[in-house]
Amino acid sequence: MTFPRAEEADIALLLEGTFPYVAGGVSSWVNQIIRGFPEYRFAIIFLGSRVEDYGDMKYALPDNVVHLERHFLYNPEVGAPIQPRHGDPQTFEKMANMHKYFRDPHAHCQYAGLFSQIVPEMGHNGKASLEQFLYSHESWEYIKAQYLQNCTDPSFVDYFWSIRSMHTPVWMLSRIAENFIPVKAYHTVSTGYAGLLGALLKAKRARPLILSEHGIYTKERKIDLFSAQWVKDNRNLFQQNPTEVSYFRQLWIRFFQAIGKQCYDQADHIVALFENNRLRQVEDGAPSERTCNIPNGIDVARFGALRSLRPEQTPQVMCLIGRVVPIKDIKTFVRAMRTVVNRLPQAEGWIAGPEDEDPSYVEECRQLVNALGLNDNVKFLGFQKLTELLPKVGLGVLSSVSEGLPLVILEGFAAGVPAVSTDVGSCKQLIFGLDEADQALGAAGDIVGIADPQALAYACLKFLTDQAAWNAASEAAIKRVETYYTQAQMFGSYRKIYQQAVQWQA
């Protein structure tokens, strides 16, 4: 397959595990942004885990995407031949100090600039090259010293290989940054590896970096890592401290915190979707003066047209629109359906979203449907066109344990479909309103706690069995989305940022 190639572009989008290979809220947003700015030529770097984890593109590339390259961080590369080398003590001292800054940015703020000094040395012949990291005597000594000083896991072997596997992608990103075409501004849609790539590009090419965070990447990684089964813990019963997570877990969490912090340090604009996330960014080290909120917006007219297609009587259909992945907590929705069906036997629960990301979780959900005897009431629809789906839906449901500002709720609102959601991300703000004027519009549904199927079921039943309550919520939903969450408002805010970044001169 051939991808578009160009010699240069206006804006580079740095995308990790999303558009155009994964369908979902963030991908739709990226698609929306590219199409919303036809005046700019976009270049895309897609970062994935392994090539076999992704199929074909899920979105048609807009015409103004002039360049696309994809890289897979966990596909083994043919490395340089193994040759022993001494390593430059001064460079390794810089690295040691940079790591002190990563560990405690406040106490070691004098080392904040070291990242930019080390980045130019990361190339093949540099003093901080991958070969120096993998094969030099200095590197070995440094890793050894760090183990002795900090590690609370007894296995040096596991420590050594964790450090190597954890850091190797950093050099891969550095190589990507080195070979990338010239652009006027970089825009990353998360921290993590894409954010680090943005930081590397900024340090190498000195062009503005924009960061738009939908969820908080570092936080989500942290939660994943708390329960990840693959992280080893070699401590025996007597060595364990029940109040501490295993050292390797801490190591991985700190790694993602450090690369997230680097992205915050280098970014010129740090955009959150809503205030709570912005505060979280500041808490995680983002300089407050560079942060701002730009809520998502949608094409209200397009979805508003669907209202005329709705049947007179609200269908007793609850629909969860989202990928079938653990973070959406589909199981809570299925469990809630058990309670709903006990009281409304004809009610249906639809799960509309791609199922290819986590097949084992999909299987667990299907087993649960089976175990709860809901085969006739719960349907897995796969990826659906929302314009066709929404008129048939009575109530939008989100049972997620983590969200940003979900587009599917806004799209449902525009189509006149109220929503019941868990209290995550900005859902409360979407349902009940943010400020006083917004709240005066009324509730566009209801909010329940996470992983509480009973509460979710009762909240849904309230709207499915009371047409007046449904009508009021639907009306509030339409007013709210038309007033506060239009595409034009979002594009207006990004236009300013893009113009400033593209025109920036050193």
């Binding site: 007894p154 029940p242 109040t243 344990v401 996470i450």
Partner: protein, 345 residues
């Protein structure tokens, strides 16, 4: 070895020849240069040959050893090589006495974590108070939450469920992750057990699977993972499996005991009593049933019977978690004690 001997002898001979030529009449520069060239080549070959027959541990570092051999051969023709040969023999002799072993046995070092990790104290209120207090620093609360991993699900699940509505998102998500992990584990076992059940017609094997399934469904209820309608469903599933198992073998005291507990949770008191009585008839130690009979009596508002049964429990070993309950119910132990003893007689 004969091959080595032949090569060695030839090289030695050539080396000697070069030396004699040099002595014989080296009076002009060309001859000198020629002699030096021949001497270098043969010294090089000599060094290589000698290096090859050296014991492996003497061969490294290769560059230095080859250089040394070459120098001996070049600068001290004949004698140098024999001298080196002699030195190696001496070396071999001495090395035998104190050979270096690359691996040695040693005692396992004590891995001391105590000095590494900061001391954790949760204050006078303990872990629960720390978790309930949203004003505590998030790191401290997260640490308190992590200790829940090592607390039994029966005790920790209700605490974790409370935290699902916590104001701190990290706390909420970690609590969710822990609960979800526990639930997933039970579901996984249920799925495996159902596969086993479907794959066999052997009554003994079916009995084992049905028993496991009933216990797993009960686990959902016992650990409070299932609530509301799902709890009711888990109880009726457990009951269904137990009935099927008892159809296969009606004399299983353990199954009757579990059935009693399930019925007690379902508030089917007559059925629960019947199940407990049957368990006793089939050999279950009656002392194990006292707490459940007491619970039944309490549910049916027969408080005198509750006291009496608690008295009987008190005569044996009282589990720590029942201590406060005992103190509440048995303030005048002596009086009731006497009555209970008489009744027991």
């Amino acid at each position: 070895m004969p091959e080595h001997f032949l090569v060695g002898t030839t090289l030695l001979f050539e080396d000697l020849l070069g030396f004699l030529r040099a002595l014989a009449g080296a009076h002009d520069l060309e001859i000198w240069l020629f002699v030096l060239l021949v001497q270098s080549v043969f010294s090089g070959l000599m060094a290589l040959w000698f290096w090859r027959i050296l014991p492996t541990r003497f061969r490294e570092p290769r560059g230095y050893i080859l250089g040394l051999l070459f120098s001996f051969s070049f600068f001290i023709p004949l004698v140098g090589v024999f001298g080196f040969f002699f030195a190696v023999l001496m070396g071999l002799y001495w090395q035998r006495k104190k050979r270096h072993h690359p691996f040695d046995s040693m005692f396992l070092p004590e891995f001391d974590l105590v000095s590494r990790e900061p001391e954790i104290k949760f204050g006078s209120g303990g872990i629960k108070a720390c978790l309930d207090n949203a004003a505590m620093p998030p790191r401290r609360r997260l640490q308190a939450l992590l200790t829940m991993q090592s607390v039994s699900p029966r005790t920790s699940n209700p605490v974790l469920q409370n935290l699902l509505n916590d104001s701190g998102e990290d706390i909420r998500l970690v609590a969710y992750g822990l609960l979800d992990g526990r639930e997933k584990k039970i579901n996984h076992h249920i799925y495996d057990e159902l596969q086993r059940l479907e794959s066999t017609q052997n009554p003994a094997l079916r009995l084992i699977s049905l028993r496991h399934l009933a216990e797993l469904e009960w686990e959902f209820v016992y650990t409070t993972l299932a609530q509301g309608d799902l709890r009711k469903r888990a109880l009726s599933q457990a009951l269904g499996y137990l009935d099927q198992a008892l159809d296969i073998d009606t004399a299983q005291a353990g199954l009757w005991f579990l059935k009693g507990r399930v019925q007690l949770e379902r508030q089917q008191y007559a059925e629960a009593r019947f199940a407990f009585d049957t368990a006793q008839q089939h050999g279950l130690v009656v002392a194990r049933l006292y707490p459940y009979y007491a619970e039944l009596a309490f549910a049916q508002r027969d408080f005198y019977q509750v006291k009496k049964l608690l008295m009987l429990i008190k005569q044996g070993q009282v589990p720590a978690r029942l201590e406060s309950l005992m103190q509440y119910w048995l303030p005048s132990v002596a009086v009731v004690n006497q009555g209970a003893m008489e009744q027991a007689k």
